[in-house]
Symmetry: C2
Subunit: 231 residues, 2 copies
Amino acid sequence: MSSAALDALQKRLGHRFARPDLLARALTHRSFGADHNERLEFLGDAVLSLAVSSLLYERYAGSDEGDLTRVRAHLVREDSLHKLALALGLPEVLKMSDGEARGGGAQRPSILADAVEAVLGAAYIDAGYEAALAVVRRLLGETIATAAGAGDFGKDAKTALQEWLQARRIAVPSYRIVAARGQAHAQTFEVECAVPALDMAELGEGRSRRTAEQEAARRLLDRLTAERGKP
Amino acid sequence: MSSAALDALQKRLGHRFARPDLLARALTHRSFGADHNERLEFLGDAVLSLAVSSLLYERYAGSDEGDLTRVRAHLVREDSLHKLALALGLPEVLKMSDGEARGGGAQRPSILADAVEAVLGAAYIDAGYEAALAVVRRLLGETIATAAGAGDFGKDAKTALQEWLQARRIAVPSYRIVAARGQAHAQTFEVECAVPALDMAELGEGRSRRTAEQEAARRLLDRLTAERGKP
């Protein structure tokens, strides 16, 4: 890859590598050869998790562990990292075998997400945890700062979904029970949450109608924010 | 709890808290009241994972990601943390409700494992990542340094199991195919690994007889090391 491309990437990361070989390795898929990024990915996965945990802990002093865990899971999942990889321009700088490249490897979400983690692992080895934390803060700080407003915390999913739609002047969702199974006291409800204007619907299941509605709303909200960017 | 007990704990951790309130909170189960340790546990879980990852990465430069991941999982699982909690004397210093205490809460593995994580989270907040890493190095450094000798790396599970047994003068295990399903080229084998002298057996499944044997051997070795201490 060109050194201009590597320069641009380091600017986006806000970290200039003292050891550029580490960055090069982080960008090398295992199909390319022995110096691939899997060990760095192993490390970077944990770097990302602690950095995100730490930023969430600091930012949301009033949130309980369950909320924090849910948001952390959302932020570190493949889908989120894939978007981050695209924003960083990783498809242009990844090294992989010709076969893998012809098969569309540089666009594959799992390969891109792994590369993001590997880059964070490389930053940790290059300059220590605080430096890697600074990269994560730069890349995800805003997302983390606004997570609360997105209904990921505090607010229930139905409220968050309604606010998301209202902010875009889209009619509120409708809920209907599609199935109720089992005897009283041990029933399971299946509820559909639908947004006709968007032609979208998701199902949720729960031990009460309310729980099932929340679950359906959360799924729909997750799809909306995944497909249409941040809430 | 007595300040002597807290003193002793800090000596064992190798970290003296600038903010003893953080340590006190890390040792408070949610049954005791609002200032409980669950948020610190959320953070500490990630601190532990990165610290262990980093120490493994450094110590085992030749091991691949799969081996590192397997050993990390072993080191951070509840069972391992429970042992660490006992070595640190946490049952004596944990605060919990009378009801929880009467129910044996101070001996419960999950509560103790969570408290270990919370203490690491507290060290991270108190003095930063490097300080928390130093605590993990002190507590687990030797275990990590000897993991390779234990057959957790490099060696295959069958060899590791055989060596574990030979070191204790126990007769070698026997393997037998208990089932083979599917057509040639798409077969699945189920193999039993048995150690008659210990009256123990485990099953393993795989696409080849060898893979199934390895899986069975690894399960048996995991059980042995869990039940009878470190390999």
